[in-house]
């Protein structure tokens, strides 16, 4: 139940190289603006129109943002992050567009370039501002449209673009393909942990992520242990194991749709009634909440996050846990896309309770939790490292205030980002996985 330090170092080094040789598309300024506008036009809907019209510019959203909190730099106010979108709306889609157009500056390629930093480096789409806004504006959805527009305009930061291109062109992330997965499964098999691969038919399809395969194979092992203990009819698929969805985070619809379609196809083929997602916030959002919408069809299976699945099995009395003799103290970090955006807030707490741990809630938690600082693919963007580190200080302070020995979370990305932050800050508190905790406490 630990991380291979050497692997972690390797991974950090690979992040340094990410995107360096990504060929950048040559696009004229006019074309960038045209593409961004076309995407804005497609993605803006009536709800966003209401939101953009009702904003009173109170600026309270800034107080919800970890990047603003960490820097006090006004440009990080969430409402400012979709300013070009607001102008586009007023000029092109608002019912009063004819009136507003002469008074509203058009968006330029320069605007798009300026906003790249604001929406990729300085926003993790965590949605904390959505909870703050007194008008009920869902700022994260508007900033997401900004990302989508910038992605169309070819303005995704190189690192994220590299990952997106990889997934779009070869269905892998961080170079993790079927071979790499098999390697890990074989290694775990030798440790006596059986992972059924490529069964023709299975009740339960389990997904994983490249990051888990590379760094957190213990979490994958823990998942296998739990499912095996439950005697589930489950499988993993070598051609459909990747739950990560870079298109979702970069804003590229094509990649997002492709990654989702692949999972859905495979799940349908093996007749899965349940698809279990690994510990990944954005994977949950991509399949559980956006999967059906991006494909335009209702999914024929249920989608569960691993923490959600465990809580359900404990609740039904099928999964029995032993309480550790000395209940160490833990706090839980809610991944934004699992908690605030996903609704998996109570379940991990039920699991921690069942584990008999001394659970300590941080000041910000659940739907008000602070982001780890590197969500939405941001942790791969090199130039935003200093900003992320500042945001990490907020997490560190909150974790320290709980006095808990260990931080538990249920998202590999959060875990990596918190570990990087801790590594840089020389902070010693372990950041562990909920699934691993559970697997280690399975009753005999």
């Amino acid at each position: 139940m630990s991380v291979d330090n050497a692997a972690f170092r390797d991974f950090r080094e690979s992040l340094e190289r990410l995107g360096i040789d990504t060929p950048s598309e040559v696009i004229s300024d006019e074309e960038r603006v045209r593409r961004a506008k076309q995407t804005f036009m497609d993605k803006l809907d009536g709800r966003m129109a209401v939101d953009l019209t009702t904003c009173v510019h109170c600026g309270m959203c800034a107080e919800a943002c970890h990047f603003y909190e960490a820097t006090q730099d006004e440009k990080y106010a969430p409402v400012h992050k979709f300013e070009p979108l607001r102008r586009f709306y007023r000029r092109e889609l608002s019912p009063m567009r004819w009136l507003f157009r002469p008074f509203t500056r058009d968006i330029t390629a320069q605007d798009l370039e300026t906003w790249q930093e604001l929406v990729y480096d300085a926003c993790t789409g965590c949605g904390r501002c959505d909870m703050m806004c007194p008008m009920g504006i869902r700022l994260s959805t508007l900033i997401n449209v900004m990302r989508q527009g910038l992605a169309s305009a070819g303005l995704v930061p190189a690192e994220l673009q590299a990952l997106q291109n990889e997934q779009r062109d070869s269905d892998t992330v961080f170079g993790v393909g079927a071979g790499k997965l098999r390697e890990v499964i074989d290694r775990l098999g030798r440790q006596g942990i059986e992972i059924p691969l490529d069964k023709d038919q299975a009740e339960v399809l389990v997904l994983t992520t490249a990051v888990e395969v590379l760094l957190f194979s213990d979490a994958l092992a823990a998942t296998a242990k739990i499912l095996n203990r439950l005697g589930a009819d489950w499988t993993m698929l070598s051609q459909g194991f990747e739950a990560a969805n870079i298109g979702l985070v970069s804003g590229d619809e094509v990649t997002q749709k492709r990654a989702t379609a692949k999972i859905v196809e495979q799940a349908k083929a093996c007749g899965a009634r349940t698809v279990i997602l690994p510990e990944s916030g954005h994977a949950y959002q991509a399949l559980r909440w956006e999967g059906a919408n991006v494909l335009g069809e209702v999914l024929p299976f249920e989608v569960l996050a691993m923490s959600e699945f465990i809580a359900r099995e404990i609740d039904a009395g099928r999964l029995k846990l032993k309480s550790p003799a000395n209940g160490s103290s833990v706090t839980y970090h809610d991944p934004c896309r699992l908690g605030r955006h996903g609704g998996v807030i109570e379940q991990p707490r039920q699991v921690l309770k069942a584990l008999g741990l001394d659970f300590r809630e941080a000041d910000s938690n659940g739907r008000e939790n602070f982001c780890c600082g590197g969500g939405c693919g941001e942790y791969v963007i090199k130039r935003s490292a200093p900003l992320r580190q500042k945001a990490f200080e907020i997490k560190k302070r909150e974790f320290d205030e709980t006095g808990a020995d260990t931080v538990i979370t249920s998202c590999a990305n959060c875990r990596i980002n918190l570990m990087i932050g801790a590594d840089n800050a020389g902070w010693q508190k372990p950041v562990e996985s909920l699934v691993e905790k559970v697997a280690a406490s399975l009753a005999e």
């Binding site: 019209t53 019912p95 009063m96």
Partner: protein, 217 residues
């Protein structure tokens, strides 16, 4: 035609026409752009309840946020409450509403209205000063914000002067008060004052969207 007759007559009529016309134009033109049906399986089917709940709960800040936005939050709501009392419970206003709507309601004494209006004005000034001085608000403010503040401040001031009969002849004060309110009516549909109406669908939809995912918004 005197200024007051103009203000009470054609100016009022046209400003009301623009108000009603513009509000419906903005409201329907915005909402009817439409939203794609969400095909994901909801965690719970309580959209209406969640939406209504959020309309109410967004009026009170959550623990986490409250400590940071206390001034803005409470001054914001205090300003609205004071404004509504002054607007809705002043006797001359009720007579005005009666002339437009056909029904009236009980009023408060002049003195209380004047004090309330003064409170509203003081809070609004504090909020304007914040807008001009706070880096975030200064960055995100645009002409709409300042025009909206002006068209709200002027009727408040002229209303207080008319009510107290100071500064000019009463009919002049009353006419200016009428005209300033008419300027407010005319500006209303085109700027952020539309939040008066749109806050509710906005909050409702936030509550419903988060609610279907099992999150209290």
């Amino acid at each position: 035609m005197t200024l007051l007759d103009f203000a009470r007559g054609p100016a009022l009529q046209w400003s009301l026409i623009i108000l009603v016309f513009g509000v419906l134009w903005q409201l329907l033109g915005t909402i009817l752009i439409g939203v794609k049906k969400d095909l994901s399986k909801p965690r719970r089917n309580t959209a209406v309840r969640d939406g209504l709940a959020t309309i109410a709960t967004r009026s009170l800040p959550e623990h986490q946020f409250e400590k940071k936005i206390r001034f803005q939050h409470f001054s914001g709501y205090a300003w609205h409450v004071a404004l509504f009392i002054a607007v809705l419970f002043s006797a001359p206003h009720i007579l005005f509403f009666e002339s437009v709507l056909g029904f009236g309601w009980p009023h408060l004494p002049n003195g209380i209205i004047l004090v309330t209006a003064a409170i509203a004005l003081a809070i609004l000034f504090a909020l304007v000063i914040r807008r001009l001085s706070h880096p975030v608000q200064r960055l995100i403010s645009n002409a709409d914000d300042y025009i909206s503040v002006i068209v709200v401040i002027v009727p408040l001031v002229t209303g207080m002067l008319a009510s107290a009969h100071i500064g000019a002849r009463y009919e002049t004060l009353l006419a200016i008060h009428f005209l300033s309110v008419e300027a407010l009516f005319v500006w209303f549909p085109f700027g952020k004052l539309m939040h008066t109406a749109l806050t509710f669908p906005s909050r409702f939809r936030a509550g419903a969207a988060f609610g279907r995912r099992g999150v209290k918004a």
